[in-house]
Amino acid sequence: MTDGPQWPDDNLIGDLINRVVAEVGRLAVHGTYGDTGAKILETPGLLSGVENRLWMETSDILTLSPPKIWDNFGHFAEVMRDDYQRDVLGAFTAVRDSLVDWNGVAAEQFTAHLGMIEHFARAQNDHLNEQLIALASAYVLAVQVREDFKRLVDKWVEVSREFREADAERRAGVELKIGAAVVAAVVGAATAGAGVAVGLLVLSGAATVGVEVYTPNLGGETPDDVWKSFQAALTEHRQRYLEAVDRIQLRLVGYRDGVSAPTQLFSPLPSSVDVDSPDFRYENFSHRGEAPPGFGSQVDRRRGEYVAEKQAPPGLISRALDGDPGAN
């Protein structure tokens, strides 16, 4: 089982470009000596021009990096796990349960405050999921555009070789998948079943197995036709990739604009729940059952004392433990 990204580097892209350049060279020779009407292929400096152009065009389809997306997706592995979600839920349940037997305005405020945090946690989880869907879409697209480029080169070199060897017209289609449909398929797979937690490889497989293919035609009657068929297919491949990236961008803008700023998330806790405030009263946070006799008045009496002790400067030992050199 693979435990790393597909296409860990782009060395193969360089090899594929070299194969195309070499085949163009053979076609050019064939065109010249075969007198089959080659025009483009007689251009001076053809091969270096072809190589430069191929690098420029392929740089447009290498804008997303599979290993980089893989690593960044992996950073979220811990917070995607079921036990993480279970721990968050468990903590909320434990805190909520602890407040059930306490009564009054302050206890209600605590409960309401906890409700806000819980609401936030759910929304934040949804947004994290959106982030992971965007990363998964980018990953699948980054892999698919490379896979398709390889298929395109492999098929074109095969067709071109057959054309040269037979010295006759050759045509063949190549099935490619890159396009906005890939993004839609990833989103569909990531929002179904176990969601993004299944990981990038599973999502990638689920999203691309059934996605619709398109079939550019390769080959032709002359060397020029054969070469032009590759250029046209590459242009369409690049265009479809860029449209798919735009689709991710559009989704991301929607995700981003749907997120509330952190300053709007929480109201501060009111002073009635703050022991440091004179507004704190036992009656605002009292036990629903029966507390020990005189407990309420004891709380109100002890509150000032407790706050004064909390606010007192730390003693020498505490300061020394905190690393204060003046305490030694």
């Binding site: 934040q124 995700y255 929480f266 703050d274 022991v275 036990h287």
Partner: protein, 94 residues
């Protein structure tokens, strides 16, 4: 006769919520901050597609939210810890 045992249990439970469960929740939220802070893009270093800058913006928003939420939970834990500590003192336990 007052049901002191229920009170004791509830005060202990309140103390655990303040000193164990809420800090645990803050810790869980801070792990999101860690994951979001580690984000370093989706493109090779020589490229800067629009989708990457939007991802950075989205990621930063989520990171800032998680940071704020962590602080809020910590403050909530501190406030509840004070209540529980005061009640323990008033009950003669501290």
């Amino acid at each position: 006769m007052p049901d002191e045992r229920a009170f004791d249990a509830d005060l202990d439970q309140l103390t655990r919520a303040a000193t164990v469960h809420l800090p645990a929740l803050a810790d869980l939220m801070s792990r999101q901050v860690g994951a979001l802070s580690a984000f370093d893009g989706v493109a090779p270093s020589t490229m800067a597609p629009n989708v990457e800058s939007t991802l950075y913006e989205f990621n930063a928003l989520l990171r800032d939210r998680a940071t704020t939420a962590t602080q809020v939970v910590e403050e909530t834990a501190a406030a509840l810890t004070d209540v529980a500590a005061l009640y323990r003192r008033a009950d003669g336990r501290a």
